[in-house]
Symmetry: C2
Subunit: 394 residues, 2 copies
């Protein structure tokens, strides 16, 4: 076998997603890119804020030696200090540079946290539907996922979470605002989750960690705030990136923050820094560490995503789609009018509309629309969305 | 336990290196940075070539949309094409973009290759002494290292390599020019290694891969060329970075190249791209991919490292140190005059000279001097090197 057995099975399993992706490319080549409505990827359509360019310009001209050299594996102290100060604004703890590891985006951040804490076979409880990459990230470190379905409006099901926790549980992993649902957990939900984990940590005689994946924290609508998990629970980590709020996904910059009040903080932080190194990341890209230091309060123009959300929700609602209006991120996760979400997504594809079936996120009977696209894409796709639902609802 | 058992043991094991590092920092604080001679890190002292700044400037001003967005996980097609064309100049194969994955430096590149091919418990044969991070990289993917000592001049011991190969062997991993020895394998050695692996692949009825880690390829002296492993053996990969030849280690940019004539190339390439994604790297930093596309023929001023090498070799030789003069990279790996290399390195530390014991590379009785430093550091450290060897040779 040329590749490992595991990788071979991963390639096979991902082949239908690949097939859809390839089918999309075939359609783009056949009908023209402008006539294919691609809602399949969370690749922000907006350019980074204008200040980003000015800051990058200044960084290029800055002749301080060692700007592109190795720095501590956790990242430049200045950058970590800036991130810590930013976190101090909305958390009751006092963060310092030794609570922050700069990483290759949220993907890198989540991997270092998982590698730090997971023993082989330990489980991580994840409210579903959830971002499918989590399964790979857990498997990287021989961990196992334990999916727990959320309610019909995607809010946390505390009874189900409590039932899923066992002595094998090492952590609970949440993602808010959520990919694929756009759900933002309320302060009450987060507090209750913290209390549940406190109880269960006591019950099992060991901390059950809470990891919150928050790359969409700044992308919320209608005045919704994302509550702090640090305030709700001490044994906690936040992993995040600047990919979405600054539109920099290709640059791979993010961070992992550990609660300064977590037990055994020094050893955990040492583990995170070590894992950043030994996973081959070594450190987050130097120039982007310096760039984001001055952009922590910035974000792209969120009114663009809000406009998209509203246009899409209004359009789909008026032709009979059923969904919970998302409070954040740039995803809509409607029900499919038939049980078979893969068949429904294929029918949309016939209209040159590319989306992802809910099965890909562990929730069949739904599909995901990523609306981080040009508004004309939504406008021009709406008639197709209508034709397809009519076909199935007749 | 707050961290996993494995990470706890890694932290403990790395604690004496950390102690040395901390002792170095204590000395820098006490005696002043300029009075501590730090030869402990392979962090290039030279700044990137001047053209790098101009190219970065142009990239910042370029207003093409999507410059910082996601691209294919393997990297920008343009960049991969440029790398392929560069490889075509000194290899007999014809490389194309689908033989190249852009990565987070050589560390990222090696991890994706290892994850692609390794089943749990499979072994990788590595000529020693070798770069210690390899052990962590193998462990990330549940692989095992099988160290095979090189000769007294650090050339390959083919008999020992042949004896180490078994049905558990998945690959042989070489690093030339070598860290920590500076050894460059000759064309004859590489050809012979290729022949040995061809024989053993036949014997065991499966390909035994050859992986060559080549971040120091351009850093050679005295007209030495690094022979192509692709020409010597089909079942092969090269992993490399621009960290050393362009002095960009903090930016994390490199690539993995697979031999276009490897068996089952499509599946292997698909595996590498998948692993780049699922290890949380996702893709190499976008701006650096674009930058290095125009810098493939460039390098820092190698005469600087040559001057350092010669000054160091002359100085150490004249006071009685015993070593093989390195043909490449920026490391010297002399014998310690006493058996206990850790004790010797501690004695050097008393003179404010920071080096790394050979034990850290799997070869006790030696120590590593990284001479990618200011030439005055060498000049001012030589008297201390002399005092210490005299103490032990009296």
């Amino acid at each position: 076998m040329p590749v490992s057995k595991k990788i071979e099975s991963f390639i096979e399993r991902s082949s239908w997603i690949r097939k859809m992706f390839e089918e999309g490319n075939v359609r783009k080549a056949k009908f023209g890119v402008e006539n294919v409505f691609d809602f399949s990827l969370g690749n922000p359509n907006l350019e980074p804020p204008i200040r980003f360019k000015q800051i990058l310009r200044d960084l290029v001209e800055d002749s301080t030696p060692g700007k592109h050299a190795y720095m501590p594996n956790a990242g430049f102290v200045d950058t970590r200090e800036a991130v810590a100060n930013y976190l101090n604004k909305y958390n009751r703890q006092t963060f310092g540079p030794d609570d922050i590891v700069m990483t290759m985006g949220a993907g890198g951040a989540l991997n270092i946290v998982l590698k730090t804490i997971l023993n082989p076979g330990e489980e991580v409880v994840i409210p579903s539907p959830y971002f499918v990459e989590y399964n790979f990230y857990l498997d990287n470190h021989q961990g196992l996922s334990r999916a727990v379905a959320t309610g019909s409006d995607f809010s946390l099901d505390f009874k189900a979470i409590a039932e899923a926790i066992s002595e094998k549980t090492r952590a609970v992993l949440i993602n808010s605002p959520n990919n694929p649902t756009g759900k933002v957990y309320t302060e009450e939900e987060v507090e209750r989750l913290g209390a549940l984990l406190t109880d269960n940590s006591r019950k099992f005689g060991k901390p059950i960690y809470l990891i919150s994946d928050e790359p969409y924290r700044k992308i919320t609508y209608d005045g919704i705030n994302v509550p702090s998990i640090f305030n709700a629970y001490n044994e906690s980590f936040v992993v995040t990136s600047f990919s979405k709020d600054l539109s920099l996904p290709g640059e791979r910059i993010g961070y992992a923050a550990v609660n300064p009040e977590i037990r055994d903080k020094d050893m955990i932080f040492a583990g995170m820094v070590l894992c950043n190194r030994i996973l081959g990341y070594v450190n987050a890209p130097a120039i982007m560490q310096r760039a984001i230091s001055s952009l922590l309060e910035d974000s792209v123009d969120l009114s663009f995503y809000k406009k998209n959300r509203d246009m899409l929700c209004d359009g789909l609602s008026s032709c009979g789609y059923n969904f919970t209006k998302p409070g954040g991120a740039f995803y809509l996760f409607p029900r499919t009018p038939i049980e078979d979400d893969v068949a429904f997504v294929s029918a949309l594809q016939e209209e040159n509309i590319l989306t992802v079936p809910g099965s890909g996120f562990g929730r069949p009977g739904y599909f995901r629309i990523a609306y981080c696209v040009d508004d004309r894409t939504i406008e021009h796709a709406l008639p197709g969305f209508e034709r397809v639902i009519k076909k199935f609802k007749k």
